[in-house]
C-alpha cells in the first residue's frame, strides 16, 4: 500500500505554477486519506465482529450443553434430597469392652412444615396433635397461620409416626432425612454416654453432636471421618453394668436412700468396668438441665464422678498404710485409743462415744477408731500426709473421659493444720468422689502402684509410680479382710470371694455451712476382691440411707452400703470370671469303731 502524504506538495506546487486552485487537490487528498482510514477500520471491525460472533455462538452452545446435561440428569425426588448434601459422615459407634453396642446411629426423618403450601391447615393441626400428643394445638395454629414460611415440627420421627404424618396427605408437611443417635440399652450407662443432640441443622441433614458424657468428650474424635467408622471401645462391660444398676437400684430402695453410686474398677489397668449413679436418665431422651433445686439432686448429676463427699472412715486405711510404709508402725503396734484426745482445742470422739481402749493398728482398723487413726496421722504429720494423698490422686479431678469429670474437683481444707490431718485421716474435711476412692483403693489392691481411672479399653496393665511397697499393701489388705471377717463390714462377706474392705459413714454437711446433719449420712463401702489376689475394687455409696427394720433407723455403712455391696459382688464376681475359692467341706471324721 502506498502511503498518501498529508499534503501532496509536489502536486500543489505544480498546480500553483499552472495557476490552478490547489485547494481541490488538498480536498481530494483528504478524501483519499479518509477512505483509507475507513477501510482500515472496516477491516479491523470485520475481524472483531467475527470474534464476537464466535464468542456468542460458543456462549449459546455452552448454555445449550448445560441445559442438556441438566435435562439428562435425574431429577431429585424427593426434592429434599440433593446429592452431596450430607454435612458429615456417620458418627462412630460406641461399644463396650466385648464389642456390644452402647451407642449407634439410625436413619430417621425430621418433620418440617411449609405453612404457605398447606391446603387444610386445621386438619393438619388436628392430626399432628393426635399423632404427637406433646404438641400444643394453639401454638401450632399460631405458627402455621403466621408469616413464617418454614418451621420445624419434630426433629426425629419413628417410622410409624412418619407413616401417620404421611397419611395426613398434607403437601405442606415435609420430611428431611436425619441421622439420629440411638442408645439401644436405654438407661444403662447413661451417665457415661451422656447424650447427643443436633448441631448445625439443614433440611437434608443435621450434625449429631455429643452434649454430655463421653459423647461430648470424644465428640471431635467420633465425628472424625479419618476413623472410618471404627467404633470407640470402652472399658465398660455391659453385663456387669446391667447387674450393678439392677442391684444398686434395689439396694437404694431397700435402704431408703435418695441416691446411690457405685464404681467397679480393674485394679491393674484403672479400667472402669461398671460405673453407675442413681437416679439416672435415658440418654435417648436426655432431660433438660435443671433450672431450680440443687443440681446434685438432678438425675443428670453423676454422683460417682461429679459428686464429692466426705467419704468417712474409708480413708483410715490410707493413714495406716502410709504409717506402715514409713516404718512408724507395724500392724501389731499398740496404740491407746482412750479419751481424751484433743487437738487444736477440738475433742476427737468415736462413733456413738465408744471407747476401744488399747488397740493394735489392725484393731484400730477393724473397729474403725477415730482416735487411733488420728494419732497415727499425727505421727505422719501434715506434710507427708498431703504428699501421700496427692500421689493417690486426691488433689485433682480424676480425669475420667467424660466431660463431667472436670467438675469432680476434690474439696481440700484451706489450711492444712494438725486438726485437718487428724480429721482427714478418718475421712472428714476432705471431699472426694467415689471414683477418687476407687483409684486410691486400687493402689492398695494392686500392690502399691497408682492407677489412672479410664473408660477406654486397655490391653495391658497400666501401673503408675509406686506409692507403697508390696509388703505394706499386703498388710493393708489383711487389715481390710479382717474388717469384713471381724469388724464393721461383717455383712460384706461373700463366700468364696474373700472380700476385704472398709466402711465409711460420714455425716452430711449442711448445705448452707454450719455443721453437720445428725440424721443424714453418706454411707460408703470401699472394697476389693478377692483379697488373696485382688482383681477389682468396688466402691458403693448410698446417699442418705436408713435401714428401718430395727427399733430405730440404722444409718451406718455396715448396715446399709455393705449388704448392697455384698449382693453386688455375689452377682458380678462370677460374671467377671472369678472362681469362688470353695473351702473344702469338713470331712466327716473317720471314727474307728469296734465292738
Amino acid at each position: 500500500m502506498i502511503r498518501t502524504p498529508l499534503r501532496p506538495l509536489a502536486r500543489i506546487l505544480e498546480a500553483r505554477q499552472k495557476g490552478e486552485n490547489p485547494d481541490a487537490i488538498v480536498r481530494e487528498n483528504l478524501r483519499i486519506r479518509h477512505e483509507q482510514m475507513r477501510d482500515r477500520a472496516r477491516n479491523r471491525a470485520e475481524g472483531r465482529l467475527l470474534v464476537l460472533g464466535v464468542m456468542f455462538f460458543c456462549a449459546f452452545s455452552v448454555i445449550g450443553v448445560r441445559m442438556g446435561v441438566l435435562a439428562n440428569s435425574e431429577p431429585s425426588e424427593p426434592r429434599a434430597q440433593v446429592a452431596g448434601a450430607s454435612i458429615i459422615a456417620q458418627r462412630a459407634d460406641i461399644v463396650d469392652r466385648r464389642g456390644r453396642i452402647l451407642a449407634t446411629n439410625m436413619d430417621t426423618y425430621s418433620l418440617y412444615a411449609h405453612p404457605q403450601q398447606m391446603i387444610d391447615r386445621e386438619k393438619a393441626i388436628k392430626e399432628l396433635v393426635r399423632i404427637f400428643p406433646e404438641l400444643n394445638e394453639d401454638r401450632l395454629r399460631k405458627d402455621f397461620s403466621g408469616p413464617r414460611k418454614f418451621l420445624w415440627v419434630r426433629k426425629k420421627l419413628s417410622p410409624e409416626q412418619k407413616q401417620e404424618v404421611h397419611d395426613i396427605g398434607e403437601p405442606g408437611l415435609l420430611f428431611g432425612p436425619r441421622e439420629m443417635r440411638l442408645y439401644p440399652n436405654g438407661h444403662l450407662a447413661a451417665h457415661v454416654l451422656g447424650g447427643s443432640g443436633f448441631g448445625r441443622e439443614g433440611v437434608h441433614s443435621a450434625e449429631v453432636v455429643g452434649t454430655a458424657g463421653i459423647e461430648k468428650f470424644f465428640d471431635e474424635e467420633l465425628r472424625n471421618p479419618a476413623r472410618e467408622g471404627a467404633a470407640l471401645e470402652l472399658s465398660i462391660d455391659l453385663t456387669i453394668q446391667a447387674a450393678m444398676e439392677r442391684v444398686l437400684d434395689g439396694g437404694m430402695r431397700l435402704m431408703n436412700a435418695k441416691g446411690a453410686a457405685a464404681v467397679l474398677m480393674d485394679v491393674h489397668t484403672g479400667e472402669v468396668i461398671a460405673i453407675s449413679s442413681l437416679p439416672d436418665f435415658d440418654p435417648n431422651d436426655r432431660p433438660a438441665n435443671p433450672t431450680k433445686g440443687s443440681p446434685s439432686d438432678s438425675p443428670l448429676f453423676n454422683r460417682a464422678v461429679q459428686g464429692v463427699y466426705e467419704l468417712g472412715s474409708t480413708f483410715k486405711i490410707f493413714a495406716a498404710s502410709q504409717a506402715m510404709e514409713l516404718g512408724l508402725v507395724t500392724p501389731d503396734t499398740v496404740i491407746d485409743t482412750s479419751p481424751p484426745f484433743k487437738i487444736g482445742g477440738f475433742k476427737i470422739s468415736e462413733f456413738n462415744g465408744k471407747n476401744y481402749g488399747v488397740q493394735t493398728v489392725e484393731g484400730i482398723m477393724v473397729h474403725s477408731s477415730n482416735r487411733g487413726t488420728g494419732k497415727i496421722a499425727l505421727a505422719i504429720g501434715p506434710q507427708r500426709q498431703q504428699e501421700f494423698l496427692e500421689s493417690l490422686g486426691f488433689f485433682k479431678p480424676t480425669g475420667l473421659e467424660i466431660v463431667e469429670a472436670a467438675g469432680g474437683k476434690p474439696l481440700l481444707p484451706k489450711k492444712w493444720t494438725d486438726l485437718s490431718t487428724v480429721t482427714i485421716s478418718y475421712g472428714h474435711g476432705l471431699s472426694a468422689s467415689p471414683l477418687h476412692l476407687a483409684a486410691g483403693y486400687a493402689a492398695i489392691a494392686n500392690g502399691g502402684h497408682t492407677v489412672t481411672p479410664t473408660l477406654l479399653k486397655q490391653s495391658r496393665p497400666q501401673l503408675g509410680p509406686r506409692v507403697m511397697s508390696e509388703a505394706t499393701a499386703a498388710s493393708a489388705r489383711v487389715m481390710l479382710r479382717k474388717v469384713v471377717t471381724e469388724g464393721t463390714a461383717s455383712f460384706g462377706d461373700v463366700p468364696g470371694y474373700s472380700v476385704g474392705g472398709k466402711t465409711g459413714t460420714a455425716d452430711k454437711p449442711k448445705e448452707n455451712g454450719g455443721g453437720y446433719y445428725k440424721d443424714k449420712v453418706i454411707a460408703t463401702f470401699a472394697t476389693m476382691f478377692p483379697t488373696t489376689d485382688p482383681k477389682y475394687v468396688l466402691i458403693l455409696t448410698l446417699d442418705e440411707p436408713s435401714e428401718n427394720s430395727g427399733d430405730k433407723p440404722r444409718r451406718t455403712a455396715g448396715w446399709t452400703a455393705v449388704p448392697v455391696a455384698a449382693e453386688l459382688i455375689g452377682r458380678v464376681a462370677p460374671l467377671l470370671g472369678l472362681r469362688p475359692e470353695v473351702e473344702p467341706l469338713q470331712q466327716a471324721p473317720i471314727v474307728l469303731s469296734r465292738n
Binding site: R48, L49, R79
Partner: protein, 388 residues
C-alpha cells in the same frame, strides 16, 4: 428530468417502499423474531395462569395482554425497520433524549410497585420502564458518537459516549437495577471493541479483572463465599434457583407434557425471569434448544451481515443492538441453568412484560433496519487487491 434537477418534482426512489423492504430485510432474522414471539405466547399460555389466578383475573388475562403488546411491538418493529439508517438515528436520538429525561425524573415521579426499586412510571392501564427504551437509544447515540470520532477532525466521540454510559449506569445503579446497568456497560464495551479498542487496553483490562478477582477471592471472605456458594453443586431446593433446576431436570428431553408442569405454581417469576424453566419442564430440552438456536441465529446472523457494512455508524449501532439482545437472552438462560449468579433479566420477546416487549420490538426493528441489504461497494472490495 429537468424538473427533477431543479427540484420542482421530488426525486422518487425508483422502488416502492414495501417491495424494497422485503427485498433488503434479513428474512431469516425476521422469521426468527416472529417465531420467538409465537413461543412467547405459547409459554405465556403455560406460565401466566397461576399469576392470573393469584390476582383473581381471567386465566388467560396475561396472555391477551401479551398478544396485544406483542402486536404493538411487531408493528413498532415493522415501522422501525422500514426507516432508513439516518431516519432511525434521528428518531433514536430523540427517543433517547426523552428516555434519558424520564430516567432522570424517575426518583421523583416513578413508582416501585412494592418491589423495592423505583423503575417504572405507572400509566394506569400499563406501566413503562424507561430504561428498556433507553437501551436501544443509547446504543444508537453512542454508535453515532463513536462513528463521528472516526472522521478526520471529528469530535472525541468515544470519550463522550463513555461519559454518557457512566452517567446512565450510575442512574440505573441508584434505582437499583444492576442488571440493566451491566447491560448498558456491556453494550458500550462491545461497540468500543468493534470501533477499534487498542489491543493493549483490552489485554490490560482482562488482566486487571483476573487479578482483581483473584485478590478479592483471596482476601474477601464474603466474596469468596458468594463464589463458592455459586460454584457448589448444592442448592436449596426451596429457592427460585432450586425450583428452576428441578424443573429442567423434570422436563428431560421431551418435557412432562403441555400444562402438566409444576414449577409455574411455585415460582413467583415464572412468567418473566424464569420462563425458560417453564419451557424446559413442559416442552423439554427440545424447545429450549430451539429457543437457544433462534437467539443464536439472530445474533450471529446480524453480526455476519454487519461484517460487510461500510458505514461505521451502522456497523457500530447494529453490533450494539445485536449484542445487547443476545446477552440479555444469554444471561436469562444462564441464570436458569446456574451458569451465572441470579440476576433479574427478562428473556426478550418471550417473557411477559409490556414495555420490555415494545422496547424490544423497537430495538429489533432498528437492528433489522441496520442489517438491510445496502450497496456496500462490493465491486470495490473485489478490486481492492488491485487498486490502492
Amino acid at each position: 428530468m429537468t424538473e427533477m434537477v431543479y427540484g420542482t418534482v421530488s426525486v422518487r426512489d425508483s422502488e416502492p417502499v414495501l417491495p424494497k423492504w422485503w427485498r433488503t430485510v434479513d428474512k431469516w432474522s425476521l422469521s426468527c423474531i416472529l417465531m420467538l414471539f409465537g413461543i412467547g405466547i405459547l409459554l405465556g399460555l403455560a406460565a401466566s395462569p397461576p399469576l392470573a389466578e393469584r390476582n383473581n383475573l381471567d386465566p388467560f388475562y396475561y396472555v391477551q395482554r401479551q398478544a396485544f403488546f406483542g402486536g404493538l411491538a411487531l408493528t413498532a418493529m415493522f415501522l422501525t425497520s422500514l426507516a432508513s439508517p439516518v431516519m432511525v438515528r434521528r428518531l433514536a436520538v430523540i427517543g433517547f433524549l426523552i428516555a434519558f429525561v424520564a430516567l432522570a425524573m424517575l426518583p421523583f415521579l416513578g413508582t416501585d410497585f412494592g418491589k423495592g426499586a423505583i423503575r417504572w412510571y405507572s400509566l394506569g392501564f400499563a406501566s413503562v420502564q424507561p430504561s428498556e427504551f433507553l437501551k436501544p437509544g443509547f446504543v444508537v447515540v453512542a454508535a453515532w458518537m463513536m462513528a463521528a470520532s472516526q472522521e478526520i477532525n471529528g469530535p472525541p466521540g468515544k470519550l463522550w459516549s463513555f461519559a454518557l454510559a457512566v452517567a446512565i449506569v450510575l442512574m440505573l445503579a441508584m434505582q437499583p437495577d444492576f442488571g440493566q446497568a451491566c447491560l448498558v456497560l456491556f453494550g458500550w464495551g462491545v461497540m468500543y471493541f468493534v470501533a477499534g479498542a487498542p489491543i493493549l487496553l483490552l489485554m490490560g483490562m482482562a488482566g486487571l479483572v483476573v487479578f482483581g478477582g483473584s485478590i478479592a477471592y483471596e482476601h474477601s471472605e464474603h466474596f469468596a463465599r458468594r463464589i463458592d456458594g455459586f460454584l457448589s453443586p448444592e442448592i436449596d431446593p426451596n429457592t427460585q434457583m432450586g425450583y428452576a433446576t428441578n424443573a429442567i431436570q423434570e422436563g428431560g428431553f421431551f418435557g412432562v407434557g403441555v400444562g402438566e408442569g409444576q414449577v409455574k405454581w411455585s415460582l413467583p417469576d415464572a412468567h418473566t425471569d424464569f420462563i425458560i424453566a417453564v419451557a424446559a419442564e413442559e416442552y423439554g430440552l427440545v424447545l429450549v434448544l430451539c429457543i437457544l438456536a433462534i437467539y443464536a441465529a439472530i445474533v450471529v446472523r446480524s453480526l455476519i451481515r454487519l461484517m460487510r457494512e461500510r458505514d461505521p455508524f451502522i456497523r457500530l449501532a447494529g453490533t450494539g443492538l445485536a449484542c445487547m439482545f443476545g446477552v440479555q437472552a444469554m444471561i436469562n438462560m444462564g441464570v436458569a441453568v446456574r451458569l451465572l449468579p441470579a440476576k433479574g433479566m427478562t428473556l426478550p420477546f418471550i417473557s411477559y412484560g409490556g414495555s420490555s416487549l415494545i422496547a424490544g420490538g423497537i430495538a429489533v426493528g432498528m437492528l433489522l433496519a441496520f442489517t438491510r441489504v445496502r450497496p456496500q461497494g462490493e465491486i470495490g472490495d473485489i478490486l481492492r487487491g488491485r487498486t490502492r
